[in-house]
């Protein structure tokens, strides 16, 4: 599927037609289907969707960190033009942390509890750069400074459990940035944090983004975070993209009924300042991935579904310049 007009600038990361499946007891089923995306240097792409939509699986496959039970069935992932899926394990390890790094949702489980923060960052530096222990540690302290960790020299000598949630997430970001990767994947980086700390971390992520000019893919379920930080947005539902466009276009003129539903379902202040009386809920629940409906996966919950939606899956196509969606009914509207 060739969806995107060819752009002059080469993307740092491009994924095309990625299919990921989970190998279950009763055969395999797809968790990510026909996923394509590309990110340029300095750009932030948000992948948004609810649990089970395949956004985290997409993120994990980008680092070749899929669990045993899952595998990439087909498709390609190119990093700086190199075929990441065909690479041997040693090369992959060279890439990970150096060219592409990940910020995980829960820093307490992602960080090693028996190493100090500084040692963990230094370990990554030593893996990718020819430096001595001492220099690597000094660099770790520098990284902690970069993420505005209070008292970085002391914190570098502390263990993850000695830090607060916000500081742990800062340490996690420092670890991801230690080798100045050109691509950063952040999987729900602020979900486990309190709202005041979330604000700080979002501020930090956009600061660093500007300073380092890395390409960023941020996975989230929170449209508020998307509005704050994204340049471009991909909305996923049941393993597939349903909409993709610039963040402004998404909030101003959403096309897909699922996106529209999500926006109505989140309680937030309207322009008039009055909170709405009733939320527009999306009836029903997300279908299980092993038992997807025949046509559009969203059709059973969609207020505007027609007979065609139940039978045929709509293609993901460009509806307006730069605005892609997978919906039959939009064409009639």
């Amino acid at each position: 599927m060739e969806n995107r007009a060819s752009e002059a600038k080469q993307p740092v990361l491009s994924v095309s037609d990625l299919n990921v499946e989970i190998l279950g007891e009763n055969g395999s089923f797809p968790v990510v289907s026909e996923m394509s995306l590309s990110v340029h240097a300095g750009e932030t792409v948000c992948i948004v969707g609810e649990s089970g939509c395949g956004k985290s699986m997409t993120a994990l496959s980008l680092l070749r960190l899929l669990p045993e039970s899952a595998r990439v069935a087909s498709g390609s992932i190119r990093i700086h033009g190199e075929d990441f899926l065909a690479m041997d394990q040693r090369h992959v390890e060279d890439f990970r942390g150096d060219r592409i790094a990940m910020i995980f949702q829960e820093p307490l489980t992602a960080l090693n509890p028996v190493l100090t923060i500084g040692e963990q960052i230094a370990e990554s530096v030593r893996q990718h750069r020819k430096t001595g222990r001492r220099d690597a540690f000094a660099r770790a302290v520098k990284c902690l400074e970069l993420v505005q960790m209070p008292d970085p020299a002391r914190r570098a000598r502390q263990y993850p459990h000695e830090l607060s949630g916000g500081m742990r997430q800062r340490a996690m970001i420092a670890l991801a940035l230690a080798c100045e990767p050109k691509i950063i994947i952040a999987d729900e980086p602020t979900t486990a944090l309190d709202v005041t700390v979330q604000a700080q971390i979002l501020g930090l992520i956009s600061d660093l983004q500007q300073r380092l000019g890395a390409a960023q893919i941020l996975i989230t379920h929170d449209l508020g975070v998307v509005a704050e930080i994204a340049d471009r947005v991909i909305v996923m539902y049941a393993g597939r993209r349903v909409e993709e466009c610039s963040v402004y276009e998404l909030f101003d003129n959403p096309i897909h009924p699922y996106t529209i539903g999500l926006m109505g379902a989140v309680p937030h202040k309207s322009e008039t300042g009055a909170a709405s009386e009733r939320l527009t809920d999306i009836p029903g629940t997300v279908p299980p991935l092993w038992d997807l409906p025949k046509g559009c996966a969203f059709a059973p919950r969609c207020p505007g579904a027609s007979a065609r939606c139940m039978e045929e899956r709509p293609p993901f196509i460009e509806k307006k310049p730069g605005h892609f969606a997978a919906c039959w009914e939009h064409d009639h509207a």
Partner: protein, 324 residues
């Protein structure tokens, strides 16, 4: 103004302190003042939103109201009933009028019980009606919360998160309580399902005249459901007022910070958050004076020494701040 009748629920000076113990003999080496002198009231048909960040004591407040943790001090009285905090165990008559919905719909339902048994349990415990009547009541509750009658024989694991939360709501409704404590009832749910549950809670309130104590960290949700709001910080209520007052004219700097920190939902109007970390204290190392002074832009010497009291600043709008 005419004499107002007693509120449905009046909580005064509620304190819950936990001992910190250490060593072989588990000696008491200190205490955590999880809830430290909280007062509020809830009227019939009203929703009070209790908002704050993790560790501020909002959930402990909810548990103390239900008698699930023992209050250290204070007064909890339902209209027409005695204070329950000093009693050895909370009487059934109190429990019957107040029920709770928990945050996690996975751990709050017994995985080995069928849905109809889960929902019937409160009726059994309180000995309400005959077996036949209980069965009929359970069927009614199941349809009231939007589940199908044929799902009554299923086990919790056969349901999605949102459906499980509906089961929890049906169980809480079984005794026809006056007040339901909703402890983060939607924070474990996806947004589309979250909206379903919030709408269900709103419908039930209208239909049954319920009162809610709605505990949440999500400002958007609290603004949506509440009539009045209380903001908690490290065991104390720092500001309370009508929803409109709190969300449009917050007085306490902490409430301002909370509102400022919530994402905008409008890419044209971004917040441009500051990445600077501030010194966030916890309940175990609470600062002297005003607990918020370490993070407060207005803090002066008096804030570091004297703890401000919750004072009425405008009609029905109180805040605990020396400078507002």
């Amino acid at each position: 103004m005419p004499e107002t009748p007693a509120p449905l629920l009046a909580v005064e000076n509620l304190k819950v302190h936990f001992a910190i113990r250490a060593g072989v003999f588990q000696q008491r080496i200190g205490e955590v003042k999880a809830v430290d002198g909280v007062s509020f009231s809830i009227d019939a048909g009203e929703t009070l939103g209790l908002v704050g960040e993790s560790g501020c004591g909002k959930s402990t407040t909810g548990l103390a109201l239900m008698g699930l943790v023992k209050p250290t001090d204070g007064n909890i009285a339902l209209r027409g009933a005695e204070d329950v905090t000093q009693m050895r165990s909370v009487p059934k008559s109190h429990r019957r009028r107040m029920q709770i919905i928990f945050q996690d719909p996975f751990s709050s339902l017994n995985p080995r019980q069928r849905v109809r048994d889960i929902i019937r349990a409160p009726l059994d415990i309180h000995g309400i009606g005959t077996m036949e009547e209980r069965r009929a009541e359970v069927a009614k509750l199941i349809s009231l919360v939007g589940l199908r009658p044929d799902q009554a024989d299923n086990f919790p694991h056969q349901f999605s998160g949102g459906q499980r939360q509906r089961i929890g709501i049906a169980r809480a409704l079984a005794l026809k309580p006056d007040i339901i404590v909703c402890d983060e009832p939607v924070s474990a749910l996806d947004v589309s399902v979250q909206a379903q549950i919030l709408n269900l809670l709103a419908d039930l309130q209208k239909e049954l005249g319920l009162s809610y104590l709605f505990i949440s960290h999500d400002l958007g949700v609290v603004e949506h459901v509440s009539h009045r709001v209380a903001v908690m910080y490290l065991g104390k209520i720092v500001e309370t007022g009508t929803k409109k007052a709190i969300f449009s004219k917050p007085l306490h700097p902490y409430s301002e910070l909370l509102l400022r920190s919530a994402p905008s939902h409008d890419p044209h109007n971004r917040h441009r958050f500051s990445a600077v970390s501030d010194d966030i204290p916890s309940a175990t190392r609470k600062p002297a004076g005003c607990a918020f002074h370490t993070r407060c832009p207005l803090a002066t010497d008096i804030c570091r020494q004297v703890e401000p009291a919750l004072e009425q600043k405008a009609d029905g709008h109180s805040a605990a701040c020396h400078h507002r």
